[in-house]
Symmetry: C3
Subunit: 370 residues, 3 copies
Amino acid sequence: MFVKNAWYNAGWDYHFTQSQQNGLKQGKGALVARKIAGERLVLYRKPNGQIVALEDRCVHRQAALSLGVKEGDNIRCMYHGLRFGPDGQCNEIPGQEHIPTKACVRSFPVVERDNWVWVWMGDPARADEALIPFAIGPSHPDWNVKTSQMQVAASYRLEIANLADLTHLAWVHQGTLGGPDLQTRAKFTTIKPTFTATSHSLRTEYVVRDVPISSFMAHLFPPETRFDLWFDITHTVPCTWVLHFRVFLADGKADGEPAGQLIADTWTSQAVTPNDGETVDYYYSWGAARHCEFPGLSELLRDNLDDAFTEDRHVLEAQHVRVREKPDFPTISIIHDNGPSRMLRVLDALLAAEAAGAARPQPLTEAAVA
Amino acid sequence: MFVKNAWYNAGWDYHFTQSQQNGLKQGKGALVARKIAGERLVLYRKPNGQIVALEDRCVHRQAALSLGVKEGDNIRCMYHGLRFGPDGQCNEIPGQEHIPTKACVRSFPVVERDNWVWVWMGDPARADEALIPFAIGPSHPDWNVKTSQMQVAASYRLEIANLADLTHLAWVHQGTLGGPDLQTRAKFTTIKPTFTATSHSLRTEYVVRDVPISSFMAHLFPPETRFDLWFDITHTVPCTWVLHFRVFLADGKADGEPAGQLIADTWTSQAVTPNDGETVDYYYSWGAARHCEFPGLSELLRDNLDDAFTEDRHVLEAQHVRVREKPDFPTISIIHDNGPSRMLRVLDALLAAEAAGAARPQPLTEAAVA
Amino acid sequence: MFVKNAWYNAGWDYHFTQSQQNGLKQGKGALVARKIAGERLVLYRKPNGQIVALEDRCVHRQAALSLGVKEGDNIRCMYHGLRFGPDGQCNEIPGQEHIPTKACVRSFPVVERDNWVWVWMGDPARADEALIPFAIGPSHPDWNVKTSQMQVAASYRLEIANLADLTHLAWVHQGTLGGPDLQTRAKFTTIKPTFTATSHSLRTEYVVRDVPISSFMAHLFPPETRFDLWFDITHTVPCTWVLHFRVFLADGKADGEPAGQLIADTWTSQAVTPNDGETVDYYYSWGAARHCEFPGLSELLRDNLDDAFTEDRHVLEAQHVRVREKPDFPTISIIHDNGPSRMLRVLDALLAAEAAGAARPQPLTEAAVA
């Protein structure tokens, strides 16, 4: 149901308060409980700042380690006092000299990058940092990125399909990310993207030309102003979606790269982390390039994502209930399913490859994308 | 589990605001989501006032049509913009010329009558308006009927059994519909109704003689006044219960039709709509004839139903939990089970006939009722 | 899953208001609904004060008797008016002369002792009052016992294991029942109890020497004062845990019975009643001997139990979720599992003996305890 040999996002770095370094008393506040791909994890920072991820389940009687305490590099279960090192090995059993080898909880590789915390949920020997998706985080010097998060009660497969086809901006998000008028709606739903596939991601590029600005920014420009909107998306299975979104004054051309004045140059980085089959944690950010920013733009982008993803949440949660009720309901496919189908095929290929004991699947041919 | 070839009640007509006709902006408010007999429906009025009922599940990816918008006679799914006509056929797929024939959601026959909205949940070719039960609605010129509704967390089979035996007025409703004293209680529990059966309904008539008025009306009369109460009930499987309830000054006779002065002449119409096996929507009304009304009587009747059905709700919800826990618990039958057993036998006969592909079952003989 | 031929605790005697004797109007307040070992019960006092326990499920249609009313020694179902005697036999069916023999609900033996209400959930012929565990109740003349209660969303097996090993005081309860410092923690986790086994209980005795007082009492003594704490516990399967807890000024000795001044002499009696496999009702008390009491001590003891059992509740509820998720998770055992394993072995022996139709199992040998 979940690809295990993959990096999953466990949240923003600031969720993991490094109490030893900021003078706060060490305590439970620095222990973070997460559920990722069906597994319960406890995460915490060591005094040197590195984050540890262990299964949140004591090997003695399944008590929650996340109700325990940090002790230096270690975590102590506060039910019977077993203490575990960052590798998951028990190194103290109060009242007992002998510590069995199997007194050990699972430890998961963790990498911090771009202010995101990544956890590898599969075989640690296969953890490959090169597979961590590109992103622009809030500490990047060139972009003023703002962050947020949300939980959604839906399968992550529905989230993947949602992100893989932006024609839904015309409908779900007409009052936020989409355009307010019917002509803009038509342009959004007749885009012909350029697809570039790899084994586990899909790059989608397209320009929506000669349209008003998105609804949430409409108050910033004279109503008659026309824009070209350039989308450059890299969607990586199972978990990450990154968009380089640029707004230009309309150049009056029918195709090619936009040549009008660059009005806004932005990146949004988004991670969908399945808790299990029923809910996801969604971590996302948006921000503008400092070179052509104006005051409040990045906050406006982030706040608008909160609104827009609440719109998605309503749609996806109602859809999830219906899919659970009728998993075999006969559906039809439409032209815009290309992206979603592609991403779910890649996901299924990864699941099948992993079930067969193989490494990650080979890149699909371009033909398979069309 | 549910008879499909039957009319189910989807609520009062005023639940389906006809925005085009009253000047309100068209919007989601005019889309009504219901769950009836296990199916999710979305209902809305066309500009000509007719109500449409479709499966609330887009044929593309199962998004909720009830989160969409009305467009003239059509409804548009606001996930990817598919538009459906009142027959359920998709008539627009944004960005795509070809519309497959199977791009179609189920459509259900709808009839408005007596201010109630009726939906036929089975084969549309079998929808027969003659099967819609008689009722007195709030717009009837001769009766001042007031409406209400309630949801109850119980199987509709328990609701049917509840309505089919009014001796429970003596116990559940002693402070509302029933009488306050032990003698009245005894009279309620020794009634000998006249039964008249059809294939899918049961008419029950009886008079409770020489009793005080029901508790909820006791403040309106001198305490020593005695009354004859005439009940004339038509209970139709699966969904409807209608009572002509008349209050007379006691005539001192032992039997026959009451001959004292008519004090109140009322109709209550009630519909039990199973959402699924666990909850029902209950739509009900009560009102007095305008020819012998006094101010506040109809409101008093309706408010009392709210109180009384809350009493039933507590009983039925606790019973439902217990039946779910021990479906095979050995129970006994009592003399008053005649009505409930009869109605559940009719329901089971309809279910069996439908499973066998037949039309509605033939009328049971009178002997079967006794 | 539950031993049926055993006494289970249904709460404190004051939960069962004897309305006939205190002048209050008889009513639903005197009908108490409980779920014990998977069965729903209704309990009430007869006018003579004796408590009746019946299955809370009318034999007619499974309505809740606990929504009924008391009538003298009887209880009446307020759905259709069936009346049952304290033996569970129906003795009135309104409107009907004949009462079938099988119109009967299960009746359960009840004994009040030590202000606790005990119900025998199995074969009434086997109900043996000698099996009711010893306890000290709030009406005991020599002890000033205060009572409380709590519901915990965990299997009773986890509660049994929790109570059977008090080394968890060092961890879960460091700020309440346990000691605040590391040295005390070490002493709690290296205790060598004396075990004495019977067929269905385990007595555990140990002294923790030369330690500060428990955290919750620390404000009462100069911080440098040292104490010997004497624990004498009798833990009876499935339901009861009684502790004679005594605090002495430290005598400076390494072993033997404490010989210092007796500072506090207390009893705590605790009963864990499984509602079903998912929750327990926990009834408990604590109090000090009147011969060496000081004002407020017993209230302090009881209030501290509320705090401490809330600590346990958090641990046990998180553990319960995890055990349900991974019932076959491979765990390790530690030296302190002796008590919990012993009690769960006794529970499993009782379950197996009962399944085999036998009486209670024979005492295990002392060797089996070690």
